[in-house]
Homo-oligomer: 135 residues x 2
């Protein structure tokens, strides 16, 4: 599998962990040896692994956790960083996300996640990659 | 000047171009030889340079362009990519941004910008770097 295909596969695994409320899988997806940053929609930036994992634990174990599906993921390698831009379809709204990954112990690991609102409706989102769709 | 200090300097220049409505400076700050992505708060992802520059032209020449100040910028180098997380103070609200830079022709150039809402108020934002402040 190419590095870029692996990157998109791991990005799918991130949303699968979210969708299936799998706290352990979520924890395993985040890098351990470099600083990590997570910006949930409408939150402040969190910049410690402990705080980020506590936030995911809270989100994934909440009965109000939203359904989520990743759409239109566009992944590319820039230097040694995997940069993914994608849409997150959550019930009746669409968020847009930046996910950054590095290689750690032979696998892509998340070092940065930011999600925020977009002006798209669920019906407007397709599986075409973000860049391809807009170019 | 270290690469990281240069990175934060260029990130300041980005917000200075925004604050002074300097379309030419904004255009010069974005990379020309690699794909670029821009996600304004509440918009969809834009992934062509032409579309991104048209959006900045619209924003910077609008009489309603908000005042903006960058606070708490945290910059680091990851695999040849400059990753900056910072707050954007805009009138009475605070956004949080991810800005990615690469070296192009001897200078840091923007390849990715995402800004979205945060739950901070202007009074809660300081000049301490995001990570330092939260760790």
């Amino acid at each position: 599998m190419s590095q870029c295909a692996e990157l998109l596969f791991v990005n799918e695994a991130f949303y699968h962990a979210f969708q299936t409320r799998d706290v352990a899988a979520m924890e395993a997806l985040w890098a351990r040896h470099v600083p990590v940053v997570c910006i949930h929609p409408g939150w402040r930036a969190m910049a410690t692994r402990d705080e980020i994992m506590a936030s995911w634990h809270g989100i994934l174990t909440s009965p109000d956790a939203p359904d989520i599906a990743c759409c239109g993921a566009n992944g590319r390698l820039v230097g040694g960083v995997g940069v993914v831009v994608c849409y997150e379809q959550m019930d009746d709204r669409v968020l847009v996300a930046t996910n950054l990954y590095i290689r750690e112990e032979g696998a892509w690991k998340l070092i940065h996640h930011q999600a925020g609102p977009s002006n798209l409706t669920p019906g407007e989102v397709t599986d075409d990659p973000v860049g391809g769709r807009l170019q």
